[in-house]
Symmetry: C2
Subunit: 452 residues, 2 copies
Amino acid sequence: MILPRPVSFAGGGGEVGFDGAVHVSRVGGPAEGYRLSITRDGVRIRASDDAGEFYARQTLRQLSGPAAFRAVPPDRVVLPVCEVEDHPRFGWRGVMLDVARHFLPKPDLLRYVDLLAAHKLNVLHLHLTDDQGWRFESLRFPRLHEVGGWRADSRFGDRRSGGMAGRPHGGYYTQDDLREVVAYAARRHIAVVPEIDVPGHSQAAVAAYPHLGAHGGGVWTDWGVNPNVLRPDESTVDFYRQVFDEVLDVFPGEVIGLGGDEAEGGAAEGGDGWFVRRIAQHLHQRGRRPFGWDEVLDAGPLPTRTVIASWRGEDPGLTASERGHDVVMCPEEHLYLDYRQSDDPREPVPVGTVTTLEDVYRYEPPDWVLGAQANVWTEHLDSPRRLDYAAFPRLSAFAEVVWSPAGRDVAEFRTRLAEHHLPRLDALGVEYRPLDGPRPWQELPGVPGFPR
Amino acid sequence: MILPRPVSFAGGGGEVGFDGAVHVSRVGGPAEGYRLSITRDGVRIRASDDAGEFYARQTLRQLSGPAAFRAVPPDRVVLPVCEVEDHPRFGWRGVMLDVARHFLPKPDLLRYVDLLAAHKLNVLHLHLTDDQGWRFESLRFPRLHEVGGWRADSRFGDRRSGGMAGRPHGGYYTQDDLREVVAYAARRHIAVVPEIDVPGHSQAAVAAYPHLGAHGGGVWTDWGVNPNVLRPDESTVDFYRQVFDEVLDVFPGEVIGLGGDEAEGGAAEGGDGWFVRRIAQHLHQRGRRPFGWDEVLDAGPLPTRTVIASWRGEDPGLTASERGHDVVMCPEEHLYLDYRQSDDPREPVPVGTVTTLEDVYRYEPPDWVLGAQANVWTEHLDSPRRLDYAAFPRLSAFAEVVWSPAGRDVAEFRTRLAEHHLPRLDALGVEYRPLDGPRPWQELPGVPGFPR
């Protein structure tokens, strides 16, 4: 009944009442690991570290029944007598949330931290900037969030045939908001990885400070790959060094994202690759690890400590590894959770390839990677409700991909999900996609997608 | 700096560090009252009752600074040395949320419970059903939430000139969800008052069970007063008795709303008033207090224990009181928070009369009422973000209207709000209307309202 499936579970000894008392101790063992013993004598956690204890408590909550996931959980529950031994397969178990295309208000972002923790995920990658919006408060350059933080309208559906939504959209996080998210996540053993995307996907910044761009233009109201990138010169590098220094001040974690996706190559001086290299060097000099989408492999030599997110399949990850980089796998054909969940015509705004629950579940990362992450792009997810629909239950499947031992059984997972885990999501108020397709109000008839 | 303003505050003795240790005792005093003493010897609460202690802790949190309202509050803060004596002016300090016109997902509803508690409000009136949606899970009549729980589209803006939103809308609360909300609210000393609106505003129910209505039709996609009301006959009364029995099973509180607004009169047998009387009698027989909008005064004799919500000004409340009813004031010209907040042309979907922050603040309920409530209708508030905009900071002003002693000073309030309370709302992630008008992304240019 536990999700993600633990390394081992031995039950069958009946049930025992539980009022919350737990005996906790630290023992040697694999990082983030724990042993949970539920006997007639009580509940005992032996954890390798703080994270292991935290995950043991998550398991205990799952064993307590769905009501344990409500805002007022029961005082007393019945637990199965059992012995659980557990630790994660990968150290990077991530989710990227695109809060740039559609802003996710802070209370909803905190809720997602809770949802990640309940799934034993431990990295929250925040895509904070893009052509369509800048979500990071800058004290040095306030027009970034004041001007770049909103757009006048949005395409509603695919760019080739969709109309406009007819409403402005915007929002940004203050630095205090983000410090709060970092602290809240840290208590749940989740590292927050910010991303300021350069040199492409930057029109919101250019709208705020036109000298940053080769061409002008407002915050983009359309979707797709925008050819208007940052002007790759020293003054722009200097500007972004200052922006990143503000980011580093808010995010104490080791890994800092610089994007680098979907811009032209140009590794020579004054090219886009040159720009990426300069920013990566700056982060490296500040003692952090740059983190970029796999296009940055074309930028020329990067600090070896740079982490590569391999999204165009696994091949770029292999190349990166050969060059000595750590790799996070996020191949789009398995782990892009904005892609349509089925070929059911009722699927709202169907884009990308069909990526079913099973497609996510069947993804098998190679053992030599840091880990993997699911990416949730939000062009077509304009509210927390739509985000829930796209993310769940596929994110539950992903959690098992990165936590549980290899050799998983799709049918067994599906049964466990339906019988035990979806009721937990119901209790949490997660508006996931039902296994048999969308609820009527989750459809968006007439809003065009662009299925591949 | 405290909001709502307490009965008395004596400060000026410097500051003292605080690590969370509080000495609490019970003393005699007015209901929900407390005395909070912050001295160099420590923090002491003397409360009349549990609610009084809870409110003392809310005051303490306010004195701790805005960061105390974040999800990870500081461990240690500095408090002013002071003595606060406090109790509420009225026993019914309510907010009505219309979750029928636009569904408010459960996590957001729980967040509103927290926001009410932070303002020392103690009644959450949930308008659970209307022409445009049925939000209460019925085990006996599941088509109520399955069919009545969503609509194919919604008017976007005023019905006379607005287009359609082009997307379906829906959602409902399970009975377990609502029990959770009730329990969560109870821990915060908030009573939840459910409302099933009869015999008008019932087209969602008619869509689910056509025999309930004089005419057929689907869940309504428009706004306004719908002439299609319930068929006032014995079989419909019997159906609704069963529905209300389910409601009573979920909501243990004394007061249960039956609506009764904006339907034709007809107190004779088989008229709308007759229908209201029959439902009121049923609730009375079940030991509850019926609660209706002031139109129910035309229904003929109701149980004296019926509580009347006076929304068409205060006169209906006066009439109700003369007939022996308890009254909750919610005159639309002061307390309808969907009405436009200014005559600024940037105000999104301007409807109703101008109801500024000061208009709310200046409302003075007569001393003989149970209390008052602010009503937040949601035809034009289609997301929690828009709800925040409409509700705040006017709800902060309302909290002071019902809690604080009469004789309030608007200028002093406005300064206290701006300097001390808005930073708390910022920390809570409330997207309130800034005092100088909407942020660009809070506007809805081109979406028509209908200002009065």
